[in-house]
């Protein structure tokens, strides 16, 4: 980690971490848990002027491990009364053929957040309106994948978190 204490209104730090995480389940299978963040880099900075405080944070990290779905099939139930397999909707349930546990990773995740704060005073109180925007450039970091093997078009659908999330508020300290 490299840190710059405030100098001429600028402060910030650059941090990098490397970690390895493994777990073993009850059957003895060793796998990488979803919490594993192999590489993580964060760059944070703020600039202060007499009336404004500008902040920025850029982060990039290894994607989250996930388990790939390789296919689906119907599991029919056995009917001991009819001595046969049940093919109705009530008797069959869809099951998933899975790849190695957490054997895949989402793509590299990255995001830039910016904020701007107006420093002001209202008598003895301090009023600071602010605007911050998360994920400024709309990085589509997948939060989850779903797999669709039913029908003629097979596809993986990745759903990302908020693409662009502005927030606005006023802090009033007295």
């Amino acid at each position: 980690m490299v840190r710059q204490v405030e100098h001429n209104g600028f402060s910030g730090w650059l941090a990098y971490s490397f970690s390895l995480s493994r777990r073993t389940d009850a059957s003895g299978l060793s796998y990488i848990p979803a919490q594993d963040r192999r590489h993580e880099l964060n760059l944070v900075g703020s600039w202060r002027t007499s009336r404004y405080l500008f902040g920025a944070r850029f982060g990039v990290s290894t994607g989250t491990p996930y388990t790939r779905v390789d296919g689906v099939y119907d599991r029919q139930r056995y009917d001991p009364l009819l001595d046969d397999w049940e093919y109705s909707d009530h008797g069959a349930t869809r099951q998933y053929l899975l790849g190695p546990r957490n054997g895949e990773r989402y793509p590299l995740a990255h995001r830039l957040d910016l904020s701007l704060t107006r420093i002001g005073r209202d008598g003895t109180a301090r009023m600071t309106p602010y605007l911050s925007v998360a994920n400024v450039y709309g990085a589509m970091n997948p939060a989850i994948y779903t797999f669709d093997y039913v029908g003629t078009v097979h596809e993986r659908v990745g759903a990302s978190n908020f693409r662009f999330l502005p927030t606005f508020g006023i802090r009033y300290v007295f």
Binding site: V72, D74, Y78, L81, E155, R156, S160, F164
Partner: protein
């Protein structure tokens, strides 16, 4: 900032979650085998399919060599047979193979081996639990307001659990199910049957609810079957696969997916629920 730009910004932020579609090839091509040994039957049914198609039901596997090796070493070869659901009685929609092995030996392993035409081998072993003679009970009337269904049975050697099935019979008055909204379903539909995994007894109140409606539908005849099941049957049917927690469905087969297990019905009773179904 203009009001239009403000609303556009707000809408963009609220609908920011995006979907990314990536085409995939065909699903994994796996041999799926479903087979259970039922000692109350003289013929055992084995179903052989393949995954990896557009149909989740898979495609039937024809021309496979399916053998069942008994504990005494005798090898019985299964025959491919037409599906019971085929109106012509000739097509094998589900990859069905039947094998007649006579009386099954309890407590000792049977070996199932499936060899498909392309040489894929799926095999597994199963042991039939040693159960006491089944309790075959006479039909009884059941008042869901006053009555409670109670059964108990001795523990069976080799049984992992006991499956309780409450199966509505479509022969009861032509109707079989009233949904929570009062919609009556006539023959051709079946009420959702009830299934529970228990130990050596079960108690079901007449007022129990199932699928958001009464479990015991008035006027319907049900068959209650309690069966002792082995480890493989229980693991396969009492669990669900879940891609989000990376939980696969347990399979007792090597070289394929599915089940080769054993089930032995030990309690059997028909009940007729008093009352009549609305709409008749």
């Amino acid at each position: 900032m203009s009001s239009r730009a403000t609303w556009a910004l707000l809408a963009l932020s609220l609908t920011g979650g995006c979907l990314d579609h990536t085409p995939l090839g065909p699903g994994a091509d796996v041999v799926l085998v479903q087979a259970v040994l039922n000692p109350t039957r003289s013929v055992q049914h084995i179903e052989v399919r393949r995954s990896g198609t557009d149909l989740t039901g898979g495609v039937p596997v024809h021309g496979a060599t399916v053998t069942l090796e008994a504990p005494d070493g005798a090898v019985h070869v299964a025959s491919e047979v037409p599906s019971p659901s085929d109106p012509q009685g000739t097509a094998n929609f589900v990859g069905r193979y039947d094998v007649a092995v006579g009386a099954l030996t309890v407590g000792q392993p049977y070996h199932l081996r499936v060899v498909t035409a392309d040489g894929t081998i799926a095999e597994g072993d199963a042991i039939v639990p040693a159960t006491p003679p089944p309790q075959l009970m006479t039909e009884r009337r059941f008042d869901p307001v006053k009555d409670t269904l109670r059964f108990a049975w001795p523990r069976a050697t080799g049984a992992r659990a006991y499956e309780v099935r409450l199966i509505p019979q479509p022969d009861s008055a032509g109707i079989v199910y009233t949904d929570p909204y009062g919609q009556v379903y006539y023959s051709g539909y079946t009420a959702p049957d009830f299934l529970a995994w228990v130990d050596t007894s079960v108690t079901i109140a007449g007022t129990a609810r199932h699928h958001n409606g009464p479990l015991f539908q008035p006027g319907v005849r049900y068959v209650v079957i309690v069966s002792a099941v082995d480890d493989h049957y229980y693991d396969y049917f009492a669990h669900e696969s879940d891609p989000y927690s990376a939980t696969p469905l347990p399979s007792s087969l090597r070289g394929g997916a599915g089940v080769f297990g054993a089930i032995v019905p030990i309690v059997w009773q028909s009940i007729v629920v008093e009352g009549s179904t609305p709409g008749l």
